[in-house]
Structures are given as structure tokens and as C-alpha cells.
Symmetry: C2
Subunit: 354 residues, 2 copies
């Protein structure tokens, strides 16, 4: 696939030269109430294309990634006289880029669009892969299409207004990509001091990380086979998130991914010979960085139930994991029985001190 | 592109063997209030797959090709527990296949779907090309995607419940395809007695016709270049339809296409040397078959205005036509000035006796 991803901390220049090359009939910028406040003024000052663009606004938050907002964006494009040759620029986190990309992919049967992710999670996770969509009928991403952005512009300069939880949440997905790459990639991220990051250094790490996802997605655009490696840690993560939500104390996605990866590594140790010292040092790092979520053996039935029903489970009634023989050596579609998962959760609790 | 189109008058067998080969997790049939009454009972009797399918129903008519109906179809799929491996079968005219295909192309980011057009116009025009969508914000097909059906099953056995106006409306699009093919294809259709058609003969003619469109679309999936030949006669047709609508006496699309083709041939005679005797015999056939719509020179400014704003006009302020040097020899992007168009409309009125 030919999505171009540009990594740059000269965002305004990148936008202007991209828009100039596209020679569009009209530019439309979608922002939410956060990026309207923290990002748009800066872009309007520095970028001629953004200064001249019509602004479409949506309310921030996952609860607004819905059909009503989508219809308002379509109406905004139509009333603003957008044509098939117009370009849409989506500036925001995953909610804005998912919904904005879906709006662009469907308005007049598809216009060109640029994604400018403004969160670390958005940059690492949502900027590549072509997944667009909205939540519908109380289900996440129930409606959407697969359509690659014409261009993604990734910059770390937007992250200065994010809090540490938002940063760490995105960082967990970077660590996941490193786990699919190899031992050096993992050590580099575990050594890096995210609390005191340098824009250009982080941009280089981010570039490496997005390229991992991009190469996986390019090999498998239709969400089969090799792409499933990107699900590493996520079967457990989704179960932990569901449990936390039910307890009324939701946890950020990336935190659940970090903890889910520890469970995955325990299973990988048990079933695939993943090296013990790497499991221990990784668990230690997660515990220090993300803390722990308290679970007891009373929670096991509910966690197992959630894992069995995870939508990425491609075979009914079984729990499928991506396991690692070592860093960089994933094996997809590994069926694990309930007893083994419970044993792994026991070891996970020991490792995390809960 | 690999859309399969099957031409058969054994529809039930075709559906069952296609569904069996797809091995779906659940089959969902979309019908409207017309096809629910006239077509669904027959299919439920003859096809195991349809008998076992969940039925989704929408109200008939272009005015229901909207976001509310789309949302109801998405909800019906979700509540009916459709998954990514389910299959949707859209049974109806262009409204049902356009909306149903868009619903399928977006539900869970895209599930497989089969179109079963039940009108001649739907069979000849909407069954190939991958155009899906809904009307929105008072504009036709304002929202949609390009996505080919996994299978289109075309049968003439559905047409027995159509009235002659519906048949002739679809036939005009077949004639348009013949005009892009050559003199023999045109004579064959002009000689055929549609008022007393034989299912299998008409199926063969339809097969030839759809293959013309399919080969054009396959050469140009993104609606540029060669695909514009399919716009033959449509610039004038849309203007005539708009005028008729404004007069409160709307005419069927195919009727406007037949008349629009006469205007196109007059221009082709004037500018490209299209043979005079072919123009005259075609105009005679249209007059006998479709009748005439009364226009005077007082209508010219409004017709020209509508032509200039036609959405298929790829250059602002000019009127672009597809013209023919002869049957089967189209030339796209022919800019024609207002004086010449008015002269052609004068000759058209002479030919049609108005």
C-alpha cells in the first residue's frame, strides 16, 4: 500500500507542501474541541493551507464518535461546497482521525484526506492501517471502511499538552511493536526516559515503531494472517479493560496493553520457551511504569469469559493468543485452554505483587 | 476487477450454490416493501439460503434511500448478530442495491454482499460499477463508497411484474450501451419487440449490455477517462429531468436518456460527422417508443443552466458532452458552446415534431 507517512517536527511546512502538491478544490480541517484550542491556532498561524481552510468542529471524546457527529461533518462538507477534488485534514486523536477519515472516505463516494494525529496513541496506532469508522449501536467501530489516508503527518511537537497517562498509554503500543521486532528494539524503549523526552529523539523512536506496524499492514491489508501479530497482548488487555469498566474504575487502553503483554509473556514462557530473564525484567518495568490493577482468582471466570468473546478471536469457543518464542518471534493463532490461562494469571499476580 | 455477474433464469439455484461456496456465518436479505411482496415469497420457496436467511425490510422509493434507513439496516444486522463472515443479499431495484451495498460495505468495515437486481434498470445500470450510497442533505448519492459486489445475479424472470414504463426506462440504458458498441448492437435492440419479450432472449441481450458497462468500468474503476463514455446522453437527460420535475410532471430517467441521446446525436452530426440516416432512424425510433417531452425555445436558458451545473461536468463553466463519430466511436470531454447547443435543440425539436 502506498500511504505516505511523513515524520517531521516542521508540521506546517509539511502540510503546505503536501496540500500544494494535491492542488485541491478546497481544504477542510476537522478538529475537536481540544485540538481547536491547543493545536488549530498554531497551525493557522504557521500554515497557509490551514489558514485558508474551512474549519469543521466536533466535540471531543469517544462518546461523540457517533452517527450524529458523522452526519454533521458530511453536512459541513456539503454546505461548505466541498467537491470530489477537495481535501480533508483531520487534526486530533484517534476519535477525530477515525471519524474524519470515514467521513472523507464516504463523502461523494470518497475524497482525499490527510491525518495529523495529535496524541502519541493516535500517532503510533491509528495513523496507519486504514481503519476508519464510528461507534454505533453501543459497539466500538461497528461501522466504517478500510481506506488508507493519502498522507499521514506525524510530529511529536503536539504531545507537549498531553499528560503522562496519555503519553504512557501510547507508549505501550510502541513497546508492543518493539516486542514484535527484537531484543534491541525492546531495550531501547525500556531504557528511554519518557518523562523527559526530546522531540526529535522521540520522533525517531516513533518512526521506527510506526514502520513496524506499516510493514505488517502492508503485508496483510485485509486483517488476516500476519496482521494478527498486532493483537499481541490485546486479548488480555480487552478483558482487563472490560473488568475495570464494570468496577467503575476504567483504565487507559495502553495500561491494559502493558499488563496484557505481561500475561502473554507468562504464557509464552510456559508454552514457547520465552526466556525467563526477559519475562522478569519486562514485568518489573511494567510494574514500575504502569503500576498494577488488582485482580484476584474470583475475577478469573469473568476474565476468561471476556477473552472467549473477544471479537479478534477468530474461532468460536477457544481463546487465541499471539505468543512469542522470543522478542521478535511471534506465533499467531495459539489456542490456550482455560486451565493454562488461570495458571498464567496466578504467575502474573506473583510477578506484579498482587 | 473481479465482480462476478451471473446471468441466469434459475435464480434460486444460483443463489444457493453461491451462498454454499461462500460458507457464511449467517445470511441477511434486504428487501423493500415491493420485493417483499412480489419477489421474496418466490425466493423463500425456491432457495434454501433465502428460506434460512434473516429478512431486513425497508420502505420502497427513492425518498427512503436515506440515512435513517441505512441506520436501521446497520441496526438490523447488528441485532441479528451478523459478523464479518456474514453475507448480505440485496433484492430489489437500484434503491435497495445502492443502499444495501453501502450498508454491507461499511458494517464492521465491510462484509460480503450479493446484489439481485429486480428491475431492468437496476440490472443494466446498477449491478456493475461498484457505486453504493444514499441520498443526503437533499443530494442524490451524496454519501457512499465504491465497492464491487462479491456477486451479482441477473435474471429477467423478475421483470414480469414491472409495467411498460419501467421496462422502457431500463431499455434506454441498454440502448446507450449498444450505441457505445457498434451499429449491429444498436439495430438488434431497435428491432427487438420489448412489449412481447422472451425471458431467455432478453437475458442474452441484457448480458451483452451489462458486459459493455463492465468492460468500461474494469478499465477505469475510479470514474475517470474511459468511464465517462457511460455518460452518453446524460448531460441533456439530467437537464430534461430537472425541467420536468420543476413543471410538476417528472419523467422517468430512461425516457430522458433516450431523448438526451437524440440531442447528443444531433451534436455529433454537426460536430463529428455522425451519419445522417442513422440519426434520423434513431430519432424516429425514440419518438415512436418514448414519445416526446414538449420544450420550446423559452426553455433553453434553463436547460443550458442545468447542463452547465451537471455534476459530471468536470470543467467549471463549460458544457462537456460525449459525442459519437459513429455508433461505437465515442469521444469524451467534448466542450460545446451555448449557441451550438441551442441550434442542436432546434433540430431536435424538428426531428421529434415539437
Amino acid at each position: 500500500m502506498d500511504t505516505r507517512v511523513i515524520f517531521t517536527n516542521q508540521v506546517e511546512e509539511a502540510i503546505d507542501s503536501a496540500v500544494e502538491a494535491m492542488a485541491p478544490a478546497g481544504v477542510y480541517v476537522l478538529v475537536d474541541t481540544n485540538t481547536a484550542k491547543y493545536v488549530l491556532p498554531r497551525l493557522q498561524t504557521g500554515s497557509k493551507a490551514i489558514a485558508a481552510a474551512k474549519v469543521l468542529m466536533m466535540s471531543a471524546g469517544e462518546e461523540n464518535k457517533n452517527l450524529e457527529t458523522l452526519a454533521r461533518v458530511w453536512t459541513g462538507l456539503g454546505d461548505g461546497e466541498a467537491t470530489r477534488r477537495s481535501v480533508m485534514i483531520n487534526v486530533g486523536g484517534g476519535v477525530v482521525t477515525d471519524l474524519g477519515a470515514f467521513a472523507a472516505a464516504t463523502f461523494k463516494r470518497g475524497i482525499r484526506f490527510i491525518n495529523v494525529p495529535t496524541t502519541l496513541l493516535g500517532a503510533v496506532d491509528a495513523s496507519v492501517g486504514g481503519k476508519t469508522g464510528i461507534d454505533f449501536n453501543n459497539l466500538k467501530n461497528e461501522v466504517g471502511v478500510i481506506r488508507q489516508a493519502d498522507l499521514v503527518i506525524v510530529s511529536t511537537t503536539f504531545f507537549r499538552t498531553l499528560d503522562s497517562q496519555q503519553m504512557l498509554s501510547g507508549y505501550a503500543e510502541m513497546v508492543k511493536h518493539a516486542a514484535l521486532t527484537g531484543p534491541e528494539a525492546v531495550s531501547r524503549l525500556l531504557r528511554y526516559n519518557l518523562a523527559d523526552y526530546d522531540d526529535d529523539q522521540l520522533l525517531r523512536l516513533l518512526c521506527e515503531s510506526v514502520e513496524v506496524k506499516r510493514s505488517v499492514v502492508d503485508k496483510d491489508l485485509n486483517d488476516n494472517g500476519v496482521r494478527r501479530t498486532l493483537n499481541l497482548g490485546h486479548t488480555t488487555a480487552h478483558a482487563l479493560e472490560a473488568l475495570a469498566l464494570k468496577r467503575g474504575a476504567p483504565i487507559a487502553h495502553g495500561y491494559a496493553v502493558a499488563m496484557g503483554m505481561v500475561v502473554t509473556l507468562v504464557l509464552s514462557r510456559m508454552l514457547k520457551g520465552f526466556p525467563s530473564e526477559r519475562l522478569h525484567s519486562f514485568a518489573h518495568w511494567v510494574r514500575e511504569t504502569y503500576g498494577t490493577m488488582a485482580i484476584t482468582c474470583d475475577d478469573y471466570p469473568e476474565l476468561l469469559q471476556a477473552m472467549t468473546h473477544d471479537k479478534k478471536n477468530h474461532r468460536a469457543g477457544e481463546v487465541m493468543f499471539v505468543l512469542l518464542k522470543d522478542w521478535g518471534q511471534p506465533e499467531i493463532d495459539q489456542s490456550v485452554d482455560a486451565k493454562t490461562i488461570e495458571a498464567a494469571l496466578d504467575i502474573y499476580r506473583d510477578l506484579m505483587g498482587i
